[in-house]
């Protein structure tokens, strides 16, 4: 309790702001039915392509579906994408980066070439290629992002570990006869975690953008499910008459992305031991 209170008092403003934004997104994702004024999938042929009004604050689409309700409902899938598409790469990349950074040798050399190979391909093209092979859909999208994405985490982790393994406190731990697992997990990992956690936050925002891009291309979430990228794609044919179909889901992506960025910045400040 006191530790939690202390953490809260030390918390930087950006962390609190980011947490507030993410809390809004989380509530939308967990219980869209409580907030959304309409059923996101219900057609209303009496209210097609309505501009924003008191009854429909974000307007309606070509089937009369309420855009506000669809934008809120989409948070469920998009938050899922943010988490599922990044946790796998985070865990795998951290472990591999920790090991190749600490032990070096042949595994490190192979890893270096693998990184070169992956970064020379545009990330989106690589992911699209993998989804095209596996077939469209959310779970295949997670697999595709995971297959490519862990490399970036591992590269970041490896760089940190290579610096830390030469630190005197790591040498001291060796001289004190500590086991390698203890050195890696207690003396290196906590000191290398900050950049990777901050990158994770940014990556969640990027994953939503990527998920939206794939949704737009028809390779991610499938209609009629509400997903921000799918919503934007839906609106593109009506953009000149009904801008609201596209613009409000776009704002939702920006809002969520800002939330992750602020939270990541705040987390970086909080994890600086010198505070």
């Amino acid at each position: 309790m006191t530790a939690l209170a202390l953490t809260f008092r030390r918390a930087p403003a950006s962390l609190i702001a980011g947490a507030a934004v993410l809390l809004v997104v989380l509530v939308c994702a967990v219980a869209p039915g409580l907030i959304a004024p309409y059923d996101p999938l219900a057609f209303d042929y009496g209210a097609l392509l309505q501009p924003p009004s008191a009854a429909h604050p974000f307007g309606t689409d070509q089937f009369g579906r309420d855009i506000l309700s669809r934008t809120i409902a989409a948070a469920t899938i998009d938050l899922q994408i943010a988490i599922f598409a990044t946790v796998g790469p985070l865990v795998i990349g951290t472990i591999i980066g920790l090991l190749v950074g600490y032990y070096g040798g042949i595994a490190d050399a192979i890893f270096g070439r693998l990184v070169d190979l992956v970064v020379t391909f545009p990330f989106l093209v690589l992911v699209i290629a993998i989804v095209a092979v596996l077939g469209p859909g959310l779970s295949n999208m997670y697999i595709a992002i995971g297959v490519v994405g862990w490399v970036f985490y591992a590269r970041l982790m490896r760089g940190e570990v290579q610096v830390l393994r030469g630190q005197d406190y790591v040498s001291a731990a060796k001289v004190l006869g500590y086991g390698e697992a203890r050195i890696l997990l207690r003396h290196i990992l906590p000191n290398a975690a900050r950049p990777i956690l901050v990158y994770w936050m940014t990556d969640m925002a990027l994953a939503i953008l990527l998920g939206s891009s794939l949704g737009y291309l028809g390779l991610g979430a499938q209609p009629p499910a509400a997903e921000w990228g799918v919503l934007i794609a839906d609106g593109k044919n009506f953009f000149s008459q009904a801008w609201w179909i596209t613009v409000f889901p776009g704002f939702a992506i920006v809002f969520c992305g800002i939330g992750f960025s602020l939270f990541g910045d705040g987390l970086a400040d909080l994890m600086d031991v010198r505070r």
């Binding site: 001291a172 001289v175 003396h187 000191n191």
Partner: protein, 346 residues
């Protein structure tokens, strides 16, 4: 600061640690052209045959310029580096082949204090956690006794007991160095190797930390290997000294005797280079000519000959061995006679 503490009197002759012909080279990177051209692997010759004896309960001062291999020697002794050749014996047993449990037991006996007090403590562990870790990993004390033992260790290095709850960044350099010493003492070693432990500290703090080492040596019967480039410090603290030059020990003997009548021209030059407070004692004589030669291509013969004021033709070709040469202690110089005129003494 408490009054000046002097090193304790002469100690028993029994060697606790012997180093014999220790060699360590660090290979340099090779370009593709080097590999294809079949050029030999170039390497930094950090240690080229270091031999030493450390007696139980004494302080051995290891002195030399930057780059002479002092730190490499320290790291080889605690097995942070694996030497390429030579032997290290601790209480008669070879330590270089130790693995697993035996190696950890050796490391419990021979601990190290590092130069940089800012880099040698894990910033994410409180002082209490860092000390408790050393105690529990080796099962020195367990359960509720850990906290009490942490307090005793802090008392031992004159830090307040509430330091246990604080983190390294909350301490000054001198206080951090005390934490580093307490951590080394936690595993109850018999030998402490201190690698330039005070050279990163303010002069006023240096004296306190040096006196702490002397006090701990007396209270705990520690053997100290004190590595430094500060000759006045080494004279104050050590019973015996070993002078290193370019990866070799060139002279070793009782501190006062060596300082009074140094037999190697390099030792004479080092002692002459110590700054004097009294202007009448100052010497205009150039202490050592030139720079330390590159350890990638050490000179043939005596490694000191390019800078030596008295070098003779044989010094350029024949490597001098570290032997007594008719005198009371070993010296690696062809020209050292049994009774040297102490002409360079400052």
């Amino acid at each position: 600061m408490s009054g000046t503490i002097l090193k304790s009197g002469p100690v028993a002759d029994a060697p606790i640690m012997t180093v014999d012909g220790l060699v360590k080279t660090f290979p340099l990177g090779r370009s593709l052209a080097d590999v294809l051209g079949g050029r030999p692997v170039r390497a930094v010759q950090a240690l080229s045959g270091v031999s030493l004896t450390v007696r139980k309960g004494e302080t051995l001062g290891v002195v030399g310029e930057s780059g002479c291999g002092k730190s490499t020697l320290a790291r080889c002794l605690v097995r942070l580096h694996e030497p390429d050749a030579g032997a290290v014996r601790f209480e008669g047993a070879d330590v270089l082949g130790l693995q697993g449990y035996a190696r950890r037991a050796y490391n419990r006996s021979v601990q190290m204090v590092f130069q940089d007090p800012y880099g040698s403590l894990n910033p994410r562990l409180s002082v209490g956690d860092a000390l408790a870790e050393a105690l529990t990993v080796h099962r020195i004390v367990e359960g509720g006794a850990v906290r009490e033992r942490v307090g005793e260790l802090l008392d031992l290095v004159h830090l307040p007991r509430d330091a246990a709850d604080r983190y390294p960044h909350e301490f000054s350099g001198g206080q951090r160095q005390r934490v580093g010493i307490a951590r080394a003492l936690a595993v109850e070693p018999s030998v402490i190797i201190a690698d330039e432990p005070v050279s990163a500290l303010d002069v006023s703090v240096q004296a306190q930390v040096v006196n702490l080492f002397l006090e701990l040596q007396e209270r705990l019967g520690l053997t100290l290997i004190f590595i430094t480039h500060d000759l006045r410090l080494v004279r104050h603290i050590s019973h015996r000294i070993a002078v290193m030059y370019l990866g070799k020990v060139v002279e070793t003997g009782d501190t006062e005797a060596v300082f009074t009548a140094p037999r190697h021209p390099y030792t004479r030059a080092l002692i002459a280079a110590v700054p004097q407070v009294d202007p009448h004692q100052r010497s205009a004589r150039e202490a050592v000519r030139g720079e330390l030669p590159s350890p990638i291509a050490p000179p043939p013969g005596c490694p000191f000959h390019p800078r030596c004021p008295i070098a003779e033709p044989q010094c350029r070709t024949v490597v001098p061995a570290l032997v007594p040469r008719g005198g009371p202690w070993p010296v690696a110089c062809h020209l050292a006679g049994p009774a040297d005129a102490p002409e360079f003494i400052a």
